[in-house]
């Protein structure tokens, strides 16, 4: 299998199968980690869509801004400072975009917001190309996070373990905010029945600004985390956006846990395909999406929204 013949004497077959199994388990673990990166970017996409009905095609572009901000600020205020400031900068840009533009589209034909965010994505990408050039910017993992974590046969770069921790904190924080706070109650009510929320005298407008800030800030955070790994270049947003959409579609709209489950599933499937049949590693996401949509047209845990049916 996987083009890698097992070496050694036939008598050792069982041991070798066990070792092969460890490697496969390692790939599964790797897939889980990959899933967390997808989750960070897909979660923001999902909540903005759920509440505002806006398909944010510029989400990947905000991810790219996060990465560029990280590179730009690290040179000036150091890694730690840039790590905290960059996602906040992206969140603020997101809130400004919501205030100035997105809010005009909540009740409009969805095609309009689709066109607007598509254009915004192109403007941001070209702007990054103009300011920073088309060449990838060199950006490395900070000195303190280099090295590898080795436990027995298990092996993983330290930086990625750190990324996992940050991603879990960010996702848990978002979950807490949406499910355990008065703010979250308004958001969830707004997702299900915006008119009723308004009728109760609660304005959804500042809530939407905050939600866009959080969602786009999460995209910025993923850019910050992935900058030293996947290269900082203007088109980086496009690449991740498609994967993020696949995760949202597989997970189902409006479901927090659906997105979590889908991200992990996508990560694991992609990880295993890269191991067994690399040419299909990118295609595997779409095959998975096709399969899920045939079996469950609303996604894994998608709820029924009257306004979207």
């Amino acid at each position: 299998m996987c083009g890698a013949p097992l070496r050694g004497r036939p008598g050792l077959t069982e041991i070798l199968v066990a070792i092969e199994l460890i490697f496969i388990l390692q790939q599964v673990a790797n897939g889980l980690l990959l899933g967390c990166y997808y989750l960070l970017i897909a979660l923001g996409l999902s909540i903005i869509f759920s509440l505002g009905g806006v398909v944010n095609l510029a989400h990947g572009a905000f991810y790219a801004i996060g990465a560029y901000a990280m590179v730009f600020l690290t040179e000036r205020i150091g890694y730690a400072g840039a790590f905290i400031v960059s996602p906040i900068v992206v969140a603020l840009i997101g809130m400004a975009v919501e205030r100035l533009f997105l809010r005009r589209f909540y009740r409009a034909d969805p095609v309009l917001s689709l066109l607007f965010t598509f254009a915004l994505a192109m403007v941001i990408e070209q702007a990054l190309r103009m300011v920073f050039g088309a060449s990838p910017l060199s950006f490395s993992i900070p000195e303190f996070a280099t090295g590898q974590l080795i436990i027995g046969e298990f092996f993983y770069p330290l930086y990625r373990v750190g990324m996992l921790v940050v991603a879990i904190i960010a996702v848990t924080g978002t979950w807490y905010l949406l499910n355990r706070t008065p703010f979250g109650k308004v958001v969830r009510a707004g997702i299900h029945d915006p008119d009723m929320v308004r009728a109760l005298g609660i304005s959804l407008s500042p809530v939407m600004t905050a939600v866009c800030g959080i969602g786009i800030g999460l995209a910025g955070l993923s850019g910050v985390l992935l900058a030293p790994i996947t290269g900082v270049q203007p088109a980086m947003g496009q690449e991740i956006l498609t994967a993020a959409f696949v995760v949202v579609v597989i997970g189902g709209l409006g479901s927090f846990w659906g997105v979590v489950l889908a991200a992990i599933l996508v990560g694991v499937i992609r990880g295993l395909t890269s191991y067994f049949y690399p040419p299909a590693s990118e295609a595997s996401l779409y095959l998975l999406m096709l399969l899920i949509l045939v079996l469950r047209p609303r996604g894994l845990m998608g709820e029924k929204f009257e306004r979207l049916e």
Binding site: C2, G3, A4, F23, Q26, Q27, N30, L33, L34, Q126, R129, M130, G133, A134, S135, P136, L137, S138, F139, S140, I141, T146, G147, Q148, F155, P157, Y159, R160, P228, I229, T230, G231, Q233, P234, A235, M236, E239, G271, S274, Y275, P278, P279, S281, E282, A283
Partner: protein, 418 residues
């Protein structure tokens, strides 16, 4: 880009005014003076400016523009100015459409550029039909010089065999081929497939033991699965046949995963090395040119490029620069804009300045430009300066060796000009 466009608009406007003034003046002048202010010679420049080859395309544009400016400053070609029409070639379909439009509507004299082998082939089909010259500046695939070769196409870029044999010579010297287990990672498109075949042929012929080859989609950016696989297989050497941004990211993640297996590859660009950065750049790679090449004409070019664009030139800039310089030279030397005359000149000129120690020449049977290549690897002790953390080797082939030893022979890559 907007600022550039604006300056181009005002430049165009200025040229229009100048043109208008010239036209008015020419009415009163005898015919032999009028010849001086003929229409400019248009050159179509197609190169990918977006996508995974975009970073190189950016340098292609800078190189081509510098060449046109220099040619025009020194009196132009046949008393006429050159005019460059640059467009993003995007993909083979778009490249073909744009090439056709440049030929039909813009009446370009020749087309220069391209990096993707697939798009290069598409453009070549257009220029072949139109019987226009095409100087391709970045397509490595052997097929373009072999089965798909064309009398109208000249190759400024090295072909895959030249890359493979350049790095192969180095690997052989290091004793990293015979009896060694090797793993390959290959870009999953025309260029990568071709390069892998050339690499495998070389490694097989020299007694290496093949472990596996993974075809990697061109849009993949994350390689953790590959890294874990390398760790599992424990090969003696890893060979990359990846392209563009893939190479940058693969190299960075190779470093991140702390893999100690010797690492080499068959294609490298300075944009990828700079993109990987000082701490992550590793391995030994073949390259057609770097700013560290010490030949006087190379260093003079580096200086001019830096003065004009405020940054160091890289290998792609050199190819597009040379394409235009050589075309202008051919036209000026033959005093002709007849395509057949120019082809004949290019096929026979033996002393072309190609910004390297030794002069280069186009082979008359496949139109491959022959030139010295180099290998590049991290500098010991980190090198000097933020863009000089690598060292460039002496030229390959070495002094006294024929340039032909790294290139495929007629038998290996047969080309028939129709």
């Amino acid at each position: 880009m907007a600022a550039e466009d604006a300056s181009k608009v005002s430049e165009n406007r200025r040229r229009l005014i100048q043109g208008g003034a010239a036209l008015a003046a020419s009415l009163a002048m005898p015919a032999y003076v009028r010849a001086q202010s003929k229409e400019p010679i248009r050159i179509g420049h197609l190169t990918p400016m977006t996508g995974f080859l975009g970073p190189m395309g950016e340098y292609a544009v800078l190189g081509a523009r510098l060449a046109v400016e220099e040619v025009n400053a020194s009196g132009g070609v046949l008393g006429r100015q050159l005019e460059l029409l640059t467009e993003d070639s995007v993909n083979p379909q778009t490249a073909s459409t744009k090439a056709q439009r440049m030929v039909d509507r813009d009446k370009v004299f020749a087309i220069v550029g391209e990096i993707s082998s697939a798009s290069g082939l598409a453009i070549s089909q257009v220029t072949n039909r139109a019987q226009k010259l095409f100087f391709q500046t970045g397509c490595n695939s052997n097929e373009l010089r072999g089965a798909n070769c064309s009398r109208y196409m000249f190759h400024l870029e090295a072909n895959n065999t030249m890359y493979v044999r350049t790095i192969g010579q180095w690997l052989l010297k290091q004793g990293m081929v015979k009896g060694k287990r090797w793993m390959a990672f290959t870009a999953d498109y025309a260029f990568g497939h071709d390069l892998f075949q050339q690499t495998k042929k070389f490694m097989d012929e020299n007694g290496a033991e093949f472990v596996s080859n993974d075809m990697i989609p061109t849009d993949a950016t994350e390689f953790s699965a590959s890294m874990l696989k390398i760790r599992q297989q424990k090969p003696d050497i890893v060979i990359s046949n990846l392209a563009g941004n893939q190479t940058t990211n693969f190299t960075k993640q190779y470093h991140e995963f702390g893999i100690k297996v010797p690492y080499a590859g068959a294609d490298m660009n300075m944009t990828s090395i700079w993109g990987a950065g000082k701490s992550a750049f590793s391995g030994t790679w073949p390259i057609i040119w770097t700013h560290q090449v010490q030949a006087p004409s190379a260093q003079a070019f580096v200086k001019r490029f830096q003065e004009r664009w405020k940054k160091l030139p890289e290998n792609q800039a050199v190819n597009d620069y040379l394409a235009i310089i050589l075309l202008a030279k051919a036209m000026n030397e033959t005093k002709s804009d007849d395509t057949d005359t120019l082809i004949k000149y290019l096929e026979t000129a033996k002393d072309l300045d190609v910004l390297r120690e030794r002069p280069g020449y186009f082979r008359d049977w496949d139109h491959q430009l022959m030139f010295e290549m180099y290998t590049v690897q991290p500098a010991e002790g980190g090198g000097s300066g933020p863009q000089d953390f690598m060292v460039t080797s002496d030229p390959v082939p070495g002094p006294g060796e024929s340039l032909e030893i790294i290139a495929p022979t007629r038998e290996e890559n047969a080309c028939k000009f129709a």
